[in-house]
Every structure is written in structure tokens, then in C-alpha cells.
């Protein structure tokens, strides 16, 4: 009985703690928030030109560092999906956590697309924010996208 009570307490605490972590994105001007972000995201916002920004949080392997996850993501996108790395830089979340931002070029049905992913690691969680859309529309919203990615809150 005591054991079950302890397990229940741990689960309850975990869910409370998880619920305390921010799960939403800063909404850029001229974007709307999707009511249903989908099963992969905690939040997704989209512009009328088809540029989408999404946020997700995942439990990570305890020893996984930022370098590990950044490389894992880069390998997945370049090797698995054929994306080309355009540039890479450090990015700071709004609460001061240093992460990694990677920008890629790709195409969807023959149309040039831009894709950016920012990743942070904190307290055993991997926080990933993605932004993608047609290259021209993405470039037009570059500043807004950058602000949205930098506005991610990593710590609880």
C-alpha cells in the first residue's frame, strides 16, 4: 500500500512539474495559434503565408548534452531527410538558457522551403522549437521567427 502511494505521489509530482514547464510560443503579429497543435507539439502557430512555428518538449536521456542532441537532430535532418545546413549558431532562450539554432534549406513538391530548429537541454528535458515555410515567406518573417524562437521559456 505504501509502495503504491509512493508511486502515485511520484507520478503526481512529475505531472505537476511537467505542467509547470511553459508549453506555448510567443505569438508573432499576423500569426494565429492552432487550437489543436497535434500530437507532436505542445504549441503551433501559423501565418497566412504558410510559415509554421512549433514547440515540443521531450524527456531526454539523463546524460544527453546540448551537443549530443544538436548533432542527433542535425544528422536526422541531413541524413534522413536530405536537408542542407545553411547556418548554425548559439541561441539564448528568454530565461537565459543557451541552446543551438540550425537553419536548413529544403524543398516541398519542388518549391524551395526554409527550416530552422532551435534546441535546448534542461533538467532532463529536450526543448525543440521549429520554424518552417516557403523560402520567400520565411525570409519576410525572419525577424518575427527569430524573436519567437528566442522567446521560448526553457526553465519551469
Amino acid at each position: 500500500m505504501k509502495r503504491y502511494a509512493l508511486v502515485a505521489l511520484v507520478l503526481a509530482t512529475a505531472s505537476v512539474v511537467a505542467g509547470c514547464y511553459p508549453t506555448t510560443l510567443r505569438l508573432p503579429e499576423s500569426y494565429v495559434r492552432l487550437e489543436d497543435a497535434g500530437s507532436d507539439y505542445t504549441d503551433r502557430v501559423v501565418s497566412a503565408d504558410g510559415v509554421t512555428i512549433g514547440l515540443r518538449r521531450r524527456q531526454a536521456a539523463q546524460d544527453g548534452s546540448l551537443a549530443f542532441w544538436a548533432k542527433a537532430i542535425r544528422n536526422q535532418l541531413t541524413g534522413g531527410k536530405g536537408y542542407s545546413v545553411k547556418e548554425e549558431s548559439d541561441i539564448k532562450s528568454t530565461d537565459g538558457e543557451v541552446g543551438r539554432r540550425m537553419d536548413f534549406t529544403s524543398s516541398v513538391k519542388g518549391n524551395p522551403f526554409a527550416y530552422a530548429v532551435a534546441v535546448w537541454v534542461h533538467a532532463g528535458q529536450v526543448i525543440v522549437a521549429e520554424a518552417g515555410g516557403p523560402t520567400q515567406a520565411f525570409a519576410a518573417d525572419a525577424e518575427e521567427i527569430g524573436q519567437s524562437l528566442s522567446a521560448v521559456k526553457v526553465r519551469g
Binding site: R44, G79, G82, T105, Y115, E130, G132, Q136
Partner: protein
Amino acid sequence: MVLALLPVVLAAGCAQTAAMGRYNAVAQGPTQRVRAKAAAGAAVDQASPPMPTATGLVTTASRAAAATAGNGLGPAIGPEAAASARKLIRDAALVIGVNNQAEAIREAQSVASGFGGYTQEAVRNRVILRVPAARFDEAVTRLGKLGIVSDRKIEARDVTDAYADLALRLQAKRATVERLKALLERGQKMEELLKIEKELERLTEEIERLEAAQRLMGSRVAMSTISVEFIELVRAAQITWRPELPFPWLHSLGLDVLVD
């Protein structure tokens, strides 16, 4: 006998003409006589081109229509000639996916010069080309063959009326300048002279501005502008072995899920 009578006949004809002239002057009402006097005496009422008025704006459209009807506004011309007198500014903006941006830019510049045009600007992955208006369609088609066109915008603006208005305004202002110069030469009071000179200076500046606007418009009509942005295409990745990490969520990263 006939030769003797000839001068008499001629003299009689001249007298009759003079008499007719006097008759005409008498037959005109007082207002018409004043106008005739003003036209004869002053430099104000010179024959001037039709000026735009609130009630009867002289537009090229109406002028062209009138011209085809031949109602006296100009020599009668056919409808085809009237249509070809239209002034169009044609612009195009293309976004083209290519394998090599630098090479594509060089080719685009070569296309422009091949059509008798030139490169107005070349910055990073974008070029702005000017080509003769007559070769615009050919140039756009040729540039489209440099890669995969993902966006194309073609605009044509009819500036025939605007150009004609500019010409009319210039003509009117130049005529006013001539009239003011004539007044200057007459010798007026110092105060009047200063006013006329100031007005002349203002009109000269306006004429220069209008001439510049006319030149710019003419240039844009004669040479169309084509802006091309080149985007490098991503080559399909070769299938190679890659590590499959036991984190399924990694596979859900990317555009296909994000923009779904």
C-alpha cells in the same frame, strides 16, 4: 486693250477685299472685335495647344478616338496605329530554383545583354535586368528556362494618359514662360519685373522636374525591368547508412510534420 484693263481689274479686286475686311470687322460683335484686337496687339493670346480643363480633359484616349474618326483634332490614323501609340511599363519578378546560383546569375546577365539590355543591379542571389520592351516576353521566357520557376509575377501599367498629361503640362508651362519673357521685355515697373522674374524661376524649376519625370517614364517604357531571385535547389540526398537512435520523436522533426 486687255493688258490695259488688267491693272484696273486687279486694283478693283484689291479694293473689294479691303472692303470685305472692313465689312467683316463691322459684322463682328463688340466682344469679337476686342478679341481680335487683343490677338493682333498683345502676346497673351497666342495660338496655344488645347489645355486640360475641368469640362473637357484632352486625353490621348479621346485624342486617339478623335483621330481615328478624323474630326479635326489631328490627322486621321487607323486603330492599329492608335493602339501601338500606347505607352506601357512592363515589369516582371521571377523566383527560380537552380543548382548553382552564381552560374545562374551569370547566365541571366548574358540573356539580358543578348537581348540588347543590361544589368541594373546584381546583389547576392538577385539580379535586376533591363531589356528593351520589344524583347520583354522573349527575355522572360528565356530566363524561365534557367531553372525551376517557383514564382512569377508580370505587371503591365498603361501610362499613355499620364505621359500625354506630362507633355501637355510641359507645353503649357513653356508657353507661359515665353509669355512672361515677352512681358519682361516690355519694360514694367520694378515691382512687376521682380514678380515676373520670381514666377519665371518657379516655372523653370517645375519644367525641369516635369522633364525629369518624363525622361524617367520614357526610360521605363522603353526598357522593361525583370527582377530575378535565384534559390539553390537541394539535391536529393544519396541513401547512405545513418545511425538510427532510439528516440522516435526525432523522426517527427521536419517540414512534413511541422507544416502538415
